[in-house]
């Protein structure tokens, strides 16, 4: 066990975990915009700044909790005046970039940021890169990419064309912290990144699924034990099936061995 203090309280940390993970596990809140537990930490938004002492840290050292691995004897302070000053400047920069985001506005209220002194832009994306990373690391479609450099950085499908490799899983839209990726759903289709996909229908009841042919194919290539029938049945029908099986079991109509098959 590794011993780390957060805001003075001694906590037991697991080897290899980050300060952000440790803090979250113990109920501390550290604001962040580019972190997700299922992705590798990227350290891009810099909102999760903390002050570190001990364990060979330089004096008054500020760093991001998401990229800081715990070390024996480390002391972490979450809300020092330094932390809050720089965090607010970063938030101010983001709010100048994306002026009308409810998420950022709420954060500003929470952390007492009152005034945006910087020239306001008219963008919607805060350039955290979560969309590209989830598409790459979790979904495996690799349909999105970072383009350009510096202030010109954008996260888009390559060449800004409807992405060939997209499967309309909509993970990018789900993970986006400022909800700036539009998704249009009708009973028959999902439209995202300028491309329209047909929705699959439940093979039992015909209800529209949150699934496309492309998404199903991708999932099956990524996991060899998956079969189409595991995916193309709606929640209601699967639940019905499970319930039915359980009822038959209880009634003694089938045995456990048969369920296994």
């Amino acid at each position: 066990m590794i011993h780390v203090r957060i805001n003075g309280k001694l906590l037991e940390a697991k080897k290899g975990e980050t300060v952000l993970q440790l803090a979250q596990r113990n109920g501390y809140h550290i604001p962040n915009l580019c972190y997700h537990p299922s992705l590798k930490a990227d350290g891009a938004c810099r909102m999760c700044l903390v002050e570190v002492k001990g364990a060979n840290a330089k004096p008054n050292s500020l760093t991001t909790a998401c990229t800081l691995t715990v070390k024996e004897g480390m002391e972490v302070l979450l809300d020092t005046p330094e932390v809050s000053k720089h965090r607010n400047t970063i938030l101010e920069m983001l709010m100048a970039l994306v002026p009308d985001s409810p998420v950022l506005t709420k954060m500003a209220e929470e952390y007492g940021l009152k005034e945006i002194r910087l020239a306001q832009g008219d963008e919607v994306c805060i350039k955290c890169g979560l969309c590209v990373r989830i598409c790459d690391e979790v979904v495996g479609a690799k349909a999105l990419a970072m383009e350009g450099r510096g202030t010109e950085t954008t996260f888009n499908p390559p060449f800004n064309e409807p992405p060939e490799r997209c499967v309309a899983c909509t993970s990018c839209a789900f993970i986006c912290p400022v909800q700036c990726i539009p998704v249009k759903k009708t009973n028959d289709s999902i439209t995202i990144w300028g491309r329209e996909f047909d929705r699959l229908k439940c093979t039992r009841c015909g209800r529209a699924l949150d699934l496309t042919e492309e998404h199903m194919a991708l999932m099956m290539t990524r996991s060899s034990h998956l079969k189409p029938e595991d995916l193309n049945v709606c929640d209601v029908c699967s639940r019905k099936e499970v319930l039915g099986t359980m009822k038959s079991l209880v009634d003694g109509q089938i045995t456990l061995e048969r369920v296994g098959k």
Binding site: L62, T69, H86, L97, L118, A119, G148, R149
Partner: protein, 630 residues
């Protein structure tokens, strides 16, 4: 040439070439560095070749690497006397051959003449060279970089033979640590410490990288080393590979350096042929080869982790340093990365020893490699100075010595131009004002002054330089070159650029300075990589030393440097104008009118404030007004 079978055999080969080189032989060396080529050295070289052929002369003609004195190119040096001819044209070739080579006569008009009209005959007496201490550049100007024989004849690869014969890898690292050699790419991290952690790290294969992605505006020392003496870099890397236990090396070189690339490729080929690279180098257990990786010109790819991402074929963005590069670098393996100049320092250290190296420079590194700055540093001296070029100086020399002794002082001082500041360390460096001219410069002192060593760029600024405009220029450069990953660097630079853009137009507000300082302070502690962490330096150092200039722009609409086009007005003074009509003839927009021998007048509507009239006027009659007087 034949493959060499052992370190001893290499020593014999070196001896043979050294003996064959006659130091008293008449040699004409023509600089073939990029700077001299740009001013016409290729045609001078061609003219020498054809004329020598015509005359059936046995005089040796040598196309060398950069001599450093780029301002005065094309440069020609006649050995063994060391007579330096500058700004040589093809039509001077016959005269040089007839008079100097034929009769030992010096052609005065081709000699270097300083501002005080003194002429200098020998290269080593020219003030630009006289105050330098050349270790890395020692052979530039004496060897043909395309011939390994020339390098061998100067004792090249002798250090490698010595190391392979007598020095254990650990001992090599110990020597590098004791020498106090610190990273010349700007970080100033002790090379030996880095080598040791890479040697001690678990994992195989180990890699070493030469960072040749020189990207600072105005810095070109790495290019000149690779162009002028590529084998010194290769020898340093082989010694490093032996010490660290690396089997594979990369040179990450920018594609905009075609000549350096060519010479390096050629040198690698020659080294392989001799058995200095490849499997079982010189018959020993050490195997090592070098691959060239061309960079696409992104400034951020000079940052070590972004550079490695780029070699791996990924987008060049810095990555999280979970573990040090020495432990997990390229493809997750132990990697050591050093800059061109650092690698080129290794052979002389191995050859001449630690005591010799530590006798040059500042501080005491005997117990602590951070304790000082040892050896020399090459600076590229550019800007408003008479002699621009590359100077290699011992650490601890003063800026005054570089700018005034070697640089020959401020350009156009006869027109009243004076020194204002020197900008060091590339775009993320800072501006150092006059009061620190006599401070000794080394890694720590420059940091203390709010600037940094960086890769050694040194831009001299005169009183006609607006410091707000300087900050704006560098911030805009960095804004373009920021990778865009982290918020403080990307958005901080965007905001700074907007604010500075307003101030130079006279639309600044007092609050802007507070905002600039807030942005700078956050960028300096919260950015992801060193590019962002140092990106605010141009703003911070100009605000620290030249705050009044910011205030004058804001309060009075006055630009002290008379540079901000929206805040200035060119006029011609009645007192000094002789009516020579020169300005009227040179004005690109025909904004100046006036009869011969009578006062000329500038039409402010047509004037684009380019400054040509001021440049050409011989009577100091053009005045630039700014602020209330405008």
């Amino acid at each position: 040439m034949e493959r060499i079978s052992s370190p001893n055999a290499l020593l014999d080969v070196i001896k043979k070439h050294q003996d064959a080189r006659d130091p008293d032989k008449v040699r004409i060396s023509v600089c073939q560095g990029t700077g001299c080529i740009a001013s016409g050295a290729n045609s001078v070289m061609a003219s020498f070749e054809s004329t020598l052929l015509e005359k059936n002369s046995s005089v040796e003609l040598l196309g060398t690497g950069c001599h450093g004195f780029c301002e005065r190119g094309p440069l020609v040096v006649i050995q063994p006397e060391g007579t330096l001819y500058q700004r040589v044209k093809p039509e001077n070739v016959n005269e040089i051959l007839d008079k100097t080579i034929g009769n030992g006569e010096v052609i005065t008009k081709l000699l270097y003449r300083d501002e005080a009209k003194n002429t200098y005959e020998k290269e080593q007496d020219v003030p630009f060279y006289k105050h330098q201490e050349r270790i890395v550049f020692a052979m530039n100007g004496h060897i043909d970089p395309s011939r390994i024989e020339d390098y061998l004849a100067m004792g090249g690869y002798g250090a490698l033979a010595k190391v392979l014969l007598n020095i254990e890898p650990e001992q090599v690292i110990h020597m590098v640590t004791k020498s106090g050699l610190r990273g010349r790419g700007g970080g100033g991290f002790p090379a030996g410490v880095k080598w040791k952690s890479c040697r001690d790290a678990e994992g195989s294969p180990k890699y070493i990288i030469c960072n040749a992605d020189e990207g600072d505006p105005g810095a070109f020392m790495d290019r000149s080393i690779m162009e002028g003496n590529p084998h010194s870099v290769i020898e340093g890397m082989i010694i490093g590979a032996y010490a660290i236990g690396a089997t594979k090396g990369y040179v990450y070189i920018r594609n905009e350096y075609p000549l350096a690339l060519l010479r390096l490729e050629n040198a690698l080929e020659q080294a392989r042929e001799l058995g200095l690279l490849g499997d079982n180098i010189l018959g020993t257990d050490c195997s090592f080869d070098i691959t060239i990786n061309r960079g696409g010109g992104a400034f951020v790819c000079g940052e070590s982790t972004a550079l490695m991402m780029s070699i791996e074929g990924k987008v060049g963005r810095p990555r999280v340093k979970w573990q040090h590069t020495a432990k997990k670098g390229l493809w997750g393996n132990p990697t050591n990365i050093n800059n061109v100049e650092t690698w080129a320092n290794i052979p002389p250290i191995m050859d001449r020893g630690v005591d010799w190296f530590t006798s040059i420079g500042t501080g005491d590194v005997s117990n602590n490699p951070w304790g000082g700055s040892k050896g020399t540093k090459i600076f590229s001296l550019v800007g408003k100075v008479n002699n621009t070029g590359l100077v290699e100086v011992p650490m601890g020399i003063s800026i005054r010595s570089i700018v005034f002794d070697m640089g020959g002082g401020i350009k156009n001082s006869q027109k009243g131009r004076t020194f204002k500041a020197v900008q060091t360390g590339g775009p993320s460096g800072g501006c150092i004002p006059e009061q620190y001219l006599d401070n000794p410069i080394d890694f720590d002192e420059l940091t203390r002054l709010g600037s940094m060593m960086g890769s050694g760029g040194m831009i001299v600024m005169d009183d006609r330089t607006c410091m707000v405009e300087v900050a704006r220029y560098f911030v805009d450069f960095l804004k373009e070159e920021s990778c865009g990953k982290c918020t403080p660097c990307r958005e901080g630079l965007r905001a700074m650029s907007e604010i500075l853009g307003r101030i130079v137009k006279g639309q600044g507000r007092h609050e802007d300075l507070v905002v600039l300082e807030d942005l700078a302070s956050t960028m300096s502690v919260a950015s992801f990589c060193n590019l962002g962490l140092t990106a605010a330096n141009p703003v911070l150092s100009t605000l620290k030393y030249f705050r009044q200039e910011y205030l004058d722009h804001i309060d009075k609409g006055e630009c002290a440097g008379r540079q901000c086009q929206d805040l200035i007005k060119y006029t011609i003074s009645e007192e000094n104008c002789t009516g020579c009509t020169l300005c009227a003839r040179k004005c690109p927009t025909k904004a100046i009118s006036g009869e011969k021998k009578s006062l000329h007048v500038i039409d402010q509507e047509l004037c684009v404030r380019c400054g040509v009239c001021d440049d050409v006027c011989n009577f100091n009659a053009v005045t630039i007004l700014s602020g209330p007087e405008r």
